[in-house]
């Protein structure tokens, strides 16, 4: 799996409340989450997610288990999130909805082209590259299927 996009650089401990606030959760309309994604961090950020890769600090996605956070990023067109570490529920949610999440140290500046090669296990940016932590076989299978629901459907007898 090969992923490319322009870097959006964020700090550590980005919680799921700032990805999508509690006041927008009572709906099934995914466009609402796309419209308000990151509103409390930077209202202009949501519009830049399409085709981009978030390069964040440690503990991305901490806090609430709300899967709407992963869905909002995926539906907004984000290509992947790279961070040295993730909060465990968010990490699992992201894989389950087919959003690539990559554990690795990536040194780059805003707007740099980020290239992720999941098969080789490398993230490259601004001329340097770094290893990424391999996904477990099970998570890789889910991600390659596009998420847990498509995988489930493909396995139905």
């Amino acid at each position: 799996m090969h992923i490319e996009g322009k870097a959006i650089c964020l700090g550590p401990d980005i919680d799921t409340d700032v990805i999508i606030a509690g006041r927008y959760l009572r709906t099934k309309d995914r466009t609402v989450w796309v419209e308000h994604v990151f509103e409390d961090l930077d209202p202009a950020l949501g519009a830049r997610l399409k085709g981009s890769v978030i390069v964040a600090g440690r503990n991305f996605g901490c806090g609430s288990s709300r899967e709407q956070a992963a869905v909002a990023l995926k539906e907004a067109g984000l290509q992947a999130v790279v961070a040295p570490s993730f909060s465990r529920i968010f990490f699992r949610n992201a894989i389950n909805v087919g959003l690539p999440v990559v554990e690795g140290e990536c040194q780059c500046a805003e707007g740099d082209e980020v290239i992720i090669d999941l098969d080789k296990g490398v993230v490259s940016c601004g001329g340097s590259s770094a290893p990424i932590r391999p996904l477990s076989a099970r998570m890789k299978e889910i991600l390659l299927a596009g998420g847990l629901v498509p995988l489930w459907r493909s396995k139905k007898p």
């Binding site: 401990d13 919680d15 409340d17 700032v18 606030a21 509690g22 006041r23 959760l25 009572r26 709906t27 099934k28 409390d40 961090l41 440690r58 503990n59 901490c62 806090g63 609430s64 288990s65 709300r66 899967e67 709407q68 992963a70 869905v71 570490s85 909060s87 465990r88 529920i89 699992r92 949610n93 389950n96 909805v97 477990s136 099970r138 998420g147 847990l148 629901v149 489930w152 459907r153 139905k156």
Partner: protein, 406 residues
């Protein structure tokens, strides 16, 4: 020698396991996406409906017709598939699962990050997302990586006005917000014996704020006595002599009342250092601190006095509310000028029933103080029930006094 997580999951730390789930629950918030994913999976019916629970607590009663319709769909689904169901006002999901549902040694999953609350019973209890939960509805099982464990070794006893909440916030500040990521916490040592079941639930509840997968207490006499009132005769779990990757040692007698300063839960500071901070609202409740013991403590401090700031008290379940009514605790709280909300999550997540305004400061007994958590432009400080009660009386952040002891 194995940790409690390794014993329950039947494998060593680092291994991946597929396990049958003993109990699985969602609330009116996460249940909506779970039901969507479930429909997309195209399954005929839940594998083990008797193990499933749908418990309404997040927006109760419904605040508008959209919420009401989403709740109707979940309510109808629960009823048509024979799933345990608790409607609006029944209480917070984690509290209800702790009122005689979960027993030691079980594997419990909830579509909510604070599912780790139930680790207080010696169960492996952890939060999952909506799609994972839909797969659990379909199959009755899920997968885990067996976590490494951090031991929290306790000695001494808590002395009034210090509470379990102060211990939990102190532990989180020592570990940091991701200090226990992908790991379990185990609370061990002589100090655990003096902690009530309700205090343990508060401590386990906050484990996720250090990133932990769950926070466990070994079932002991306190656990057995508590569960006996619900008709469950259970046995104690004897710790094996295991070595932890990391260990913290805390003397409960050394702790002081603390407050977590926004926007981080790992920012505990002595209440004394911020005393006098003006408050616009005090909120007592949630899966962290809305239990009977909490309301009783609050009432003991405000009895015969008036609060000096708007104060919202929300029992964590209908059973807690009934007990508070039967014992006079409720009338004491109402007489002091507090308002009472429907059992549930209340304003904790900033969606309903006590949201704060721009520039306002709320002192809360809940579990998160993230940016805008309880309302746009508002700030949330987290503290114990005793600190909340003392502060409600003065209207500013106040150290609870020792002579309030009852």
């Amino acid at each position: 020698m194995r940790t409690l997580s390794e014993r329950i999951l039947g494998a060593a730390a680092g291994d991946y396991v597929d396990v049958q789930v003993d109990r699985a629950y969602v609330h009116d918030g996460t249940g909506v996406l779970t039901l969507e994913a479930w429909k997309e999976m195209g399954c005929p019916g839940p594998a083990f409906p008797e193990r499933l629970y749908i418990l309404f607590d997040h927006i109760v009663p419904a605040n508008n017709s959209t919420t009401a319709f989403l709740q109707k769909e979940l309510r109808d689904f629960a009823r048509s598939h024979g799933i345990h169901f608790s409607d609006i006002g029944g209480g917070v999901c984690h509290q209800l699962m702790g009122e005689g549902e979960v027993i030691p040694g079980e594997v419990v999953v909830g579509a909510d990050s604070h599912t780790c609350t139930l680790g207080a019973f010696g169960a492996f209890a952890t939060g999952v997302g909506a799609t994972d939960m839909a797969a659990i509805w379909a199959s009755g099982s899920t997968w885990f990586r067996v976590p490494e464990t951090i031991g929290i070794r306790l000695s001494g006893t808590l002395s009034y006005p210090v509470e379990a909440k102060d211990l939990a916030l102190t532990v989180i500040s020592q570990l940091g917000m991701e200090g226990a990521s992908y790991q379990a916490l185990e609370y061990v040592g002589d100090g655990t014996k003096s902690l009530s079941m309700e205090g343990r639930l508060t401590i386990s509840n906050l484990s996720t704020e250090a990133g932990a997968k769950t926070g466990l207490f070994y079932a002991d006499d306190v656990t057995c006595q508590y569960l006996l009132q619900f008709g469950h005769p259970v046995e104690s779990q004897v710790p094996e002599d295991c070595s932890y990757g990391k260990e913290l040692t805390i003397d409960l007698s050394d702790l002081v009342p603390v407050v977590a300063v926004p926007p981080r839960v790992d920012s505990a500071r002595p209440v004394e250092s911020l005393e006098g901070l003006p408050l616009d609202q005090v909120f007592v409740g949630t899966c962290t601190n809305g239990r009977f013991e909490d309301l009783q403590r609050f009432a003991s401090i405000v009895r015969g006095k008036k609060v000096n700031v708007r104060t919202i008290v929300i029992p964590s379940s209908a059973e807690v509310l009934r007990k508070a009514a039967d014992t006079g605790v409720l009338s004491t709280i109402i007489a002091s000028g507090c308002t009472i909300g429907t059992p549930g999550c209340g304003p904790c997540l900033g969606a309903h029933m006590g949201v704060i305004g721009e520039g306002e400061v709320c002192l809360s007994t809940a579990n998160r103080n993230f940016t805008n958590r309880m309302g746009i432009g508002g700030s949330v400080y987290l503290a114990s029930v005793a600190t909340a009660a003392a502060s409600a009386l003065t209207g500013v952040l106040t150290v609870p006094e020792v002579h309030h002891a009852h």
